[in-house]
Amino acid sequence: MKKGMIKATSGFERLVHWCLALSCLTLCFTGMAMMYHSMDFIGDMMGGMGNLKTVHNYTGVVFGVALIFAIGMWWKEAGLFSFPADWQWISCAGGYLWHVDKDKMPQVGKYNPGQKIFFLVVALYGIIMCISGYFMWFPEGYAKGLLQNMYLLHALGFVLIFPFFFIHLYLATIGVPGSAPAMFSGWVTRAWAKTNHPKWLKEIEK
Amino acid sequence: MIKYIIDNNLIHEEYVKYYTNASFIVSPDFSFNDGLFSGFNQETGKYNKATWTTMKDEAGIPVRDYTLQDPQCVYQMLKKHYERYSLDVVSSVTGVSKEDLLTVYKAYGATGAPDKAGTECYALGWTHHTVGSQNIRCMSIIQLLLGNMGIAGGGINALRGEPNVQGSTDHAILYNILPGYLKMPTPSLQTLAEYNEKYTTKSSDPMSANWYQNYPKYSVSFLKAVFGETATPEDEFGYSWLPKMEDGKAYSIMHLFDVMLTGKVEGFVCWAANCAVSTPNSNKVRNALQKLKWMVNVNIFDNETASFWKGPGVNPANVDTECFLLPGCPTIEKQGSQANSGRLIQWAYQAANPPGDALSDGDIMMRIMDEIRALYAKEGGASPEPILNLKWDYRDAQGKFDAVKCARQIAGHYTKDVIIEDAVKGTKEVNLKGENVPGFPKLMADGSTSSGNWLCAGTFDQKGVNLMQRRGKDDPTGLGLYLNWAYAWPMNRRVIYNRASCDLNGKPYNPKRKLLEWVGDKWVGDVADGGWPPMANKEKGKYPFIMKADGVGSVFGPGMVEGPFSEHYEPMEGPLEKHPLSSRRTNPAVTIFKSEFDKFANADAKFPYVCTTYSATEHWCTGFTRWQPWLLEAMPEAYIEISEKLAGELGLKNGERVKVSSVRGSTTCVAMVTKRMTPFKVEGKTVHEVGMPFNYGWLWPEGTKDDATNLLTPSVGCPNTFCPEFKAFMVNITKA
């Protein structure tokens, strides 16, 4: 217990988060290196594209495992919308993009709907990435049409996940100052909680 | 086809009349009856050919009926002989549909037009029969009737090349000839004079060039080449030192193993051959090998012959044969000449050195012969002359076998200065000792020339340039003759008997494809087969077939062992109990061996399927290519091709393993079920044919359970050549 601080995450949660985050980041960059020849330098940094592919493949395993824990831990909190409040939040983009009067903003719980969407995209599409990645890693014996669509899904995954991933990164750092400690120390300021997750704050302060 | 050509008058009439013996009158004593020609001796199984002759007038010139109407003339006799072979009969005997037969007849018969050409390219499919030579003979008759011999795009072409069969035949690999197709001496021909007398053909016809009247020039030049300085007129140029072949006896590979089986052969040098796989009735061969005291093999790989002593069913402890395997090298590891079907002799260069201890054939032969000569020189012996008098100086400066030196000796040279002066013309031709003889017309019977093979005289020009190395690509004829590419025997002629491509006045029958043409006072085009003017010149003109005593092509061919006209006979083993046309089912002149291994099962329910054999493209003969991983990968193991119908009857699936057996032996292989094989009807009976390659054996690839296809085949062959009947015999097939 710290004064003026609120415990937002457990140590295990942070571990899973960072496993997921770092593996996702690695996957994005190594994946991009394989998709865009202009990013070959990433391969060079790893001592060649062969190493890069190995890193990508095994990072994928780490990502998959982390994803399973993440889903297990967060699906209830971050995977379920509560309507109509969440809908209202979404319709005003959480107040991030234009000015929204305070009274029109629904009270945000532990996770705002933006975070929930992010979680769902990562969770659901992460599974698809793992499955399609498996087929790409071990294509022997599968029909070519199936494999080709796996490549398609995998590429689509990047197109979807990276923007979400980046928005998450932005908002968790400079976009919403005070957020990052939730995943470092686990403690956030009450002020931050009140600003960003007032409903959750109320719940824990009951 | 002969009947079809005659019935539909498709012959090239002028050609047939003037360039063949179709107009000759056959002896009235000659006959053909119930599958036999006149003169057959039932006891010896041989023909007395006395009646197989054509008539000559009192001057010794053949009697001819140029109208081809005389019932005794060859043409009418031919017509009568083939009368029996109607479309229905041929279709029934061969199993080929009438439509297909007619398609071929029509297409080929059309080449009888004077300006059309047809060629026949054959290989072992035609020769591996007890009627093998007659198959070729039959086609020769067709080619003469259609005027297809001696013309561009015509002829009968044995497909020879890669194994250098043409070259080795030219240089006497067969037992019955000396190099250049000179005959083997026999004990009945005790002197050179007797020998030359017998084989120098005679003709009283002034129009016949009768080229073999020059025979003594070639035989004496050959002796000079073999014995060099020691060949003198006093010693008959060493004729008596030549080995003699018993009169009337044959020494083919089948005869060799038949005698070897009786234990009468002490030693055997098996050079670049794999007889335990290649020779028919391999069980007989493998048993015969065990009777040897010693055997020397020369090959580039171990093979089933060299290792017969550890083969299937053989206990090495029971084999007393001492075996040697000398490592030889293939053609690319040595230089020398190679001849193809067109008698084109090309010089081939060495591409790589032989590996390890391997040596070229020449080097191995030199080393063995050196030892033998040293032994004879030291110990004497029963007959040392042939060995010690042999000209034996084919080494280069490094002491290695010198193929060029050897080739020069084969080509020929002057053994002394020969100066020919022509007082009338005022010319003087000077030929110095040691210079190469530029062609066989210059060879002499007095010992002034030497030539190991008269046909090769000219392969080096007089200045010693190796013409086999020429690579000129100019071809003014546009026919693909390429006269400046290498050298073709005889005399660099690309088409032999080429004067037959022109009419009696020397004008080409096909003006669009001029092989030769008489222009002014000389022939233009290919190297003319003799420089004489066309036949219209009654004084100096000659018939075109100059190697024949009569100067014409033999529609009637008394040289054959089993008759001057070809006749259908069934194979020694077949599905039919009797001949469809006569009471002689098989070739009457065939030699049957009498050993315990020589068994036949004709029309036997135990062996109901016709089997034929062939080679896979990927493998060389008995398959030393099995040691080459890429080729083995492409064709890994023995197989038998079976029709879907037969596979259905036998309950066989494609790729299943089967046992194939004949009355002589058995082997295993993979069943290849294919649409390509189809059952056919012969004499109303459904016949199933199967086919096997002969490239496999027990030694390699490692772990193979299969063995040689020739365990199945009979040791019987064509009585002219003793080429075995690999192409038709009877087998049974069961699941392995």
């Binding site: 070519k144 990047f158 197109v159 923007p163 009450r190 009140k194 | 890429w630």
Partner: protein
């Protein structure tokens, strides 16, 4: 041949299935043999392999009047202009040479097998020992030395030829016309033209393992022509948007907490 866009013409009407090309290919490219069995066919190895870049396929069909036809087809890389393998290769190991052929840079290949999935002709093969894919490169080393590919060099019947693209295509059409009877030219109309062109005595559909209308597979097109640029746009877009957002909106700082401090009870 230097400086030309080349096409290898395979005139199947002249092919005798001697397989000289198959062996010559192995010889020039130093490809080892595999252990095989006769599986009831002359065809062997049974399929293209990492060490078998060209293969004669044997096929029996029943034509008119129940006459059996034995079809031979030399299979191998078609060297597409619009090459799916090059499109999908993550490392540019597959590339077009100056002759228009598709070669492999084995130093770059990472054995990802994407090309195997993408190839409409099912050509590239993977070797697990070296972890690379292998296929015909039209004997790039020989072409550079102004020599025909090993297969062409070995062909005894003239079934294989190589030459300038236009010349070969013209030759192919002339030959197909000569043959008549349903003979077709295959290759020039697909994937922007292949650099291997067949004269087929039968319709393309008759031949086993020869796609009737080969094309770069649709999923590959969507991936490479839509998603790949879209990925860049999305990536760039979101980064740009974040910057704009930060600049225009600024950080969303916590509002100073002036409510009752309850001591951070959790």
């Amino acid at each position: 041949m230097k400086g030309l866009e080349l096409v290898k013409l395979i005139d199947l009407s002249r092919c005798t299935a001697c397989r000289g090309c198959q062996i010559a290919c192995k010889q020039w490219n130093n490809l080892p043999a595999s252990k095989t069995n006769n599986f009831g066919s002359y065809q062997n190895p049974p399929d293209l392999q990492w060490n078998t870049w060209t293969l004669i396929r044997f096929q029996e069909i029943e034509g008119q009047n129940n006459k059996v036809k034995w079809l031979f087809r030399k299979d191998g890389c078609m060297h597409c202009t619009d090459a799916a393998c090059i499109k999908v290769c993550p490392t540019q190991a597959l590339y077009h040479t100056e002759f228009g052929s598709v070669a492999v840079d084995y130093d770059r290949c990472i054995g990802c097998k994407a090309c195997i999935t993408a190839c409409p002709f099912d050509v590239p093969r993977y070797d697990s020992v070296t972890n690379k894919i292998y296929k015909c490169d039209l004997c790039y080393s020989r072409l550079k030395a102004n020599q025909p590919p090993a297969c062409v060099q070995s062909c005894p019947t003239g079934a294989l030829q190589i030459g300038a693209k236009d010349e070969m295509i013209a030759k192919a059409y002339k030959r197909a016309q000569e043959l008549g009877d349903g003979a077709t030219v295959y290759g020039d109309k697909y994937v922007d033209g292949t650099h291997v062109i067949y004269v087929l005595p039968q319709k393309a559909a008759v031949y086993e393992k020869l796609p009737d209308r080969p094309e770069v597979p649709a999923p590959i097109l969507v991936w490479k022509d839509v998603l790949k640029p879209l990925g860049l746009i999305a990536t760039g877009g979101v980064i740009g948007a974040a910057i704009v957002h930060y600049v225009t909106h600024g950080p969303k700082a916590p509002i100073e907490d002036n409510s009752n401090d309850q001591g951070g009870a959790v």
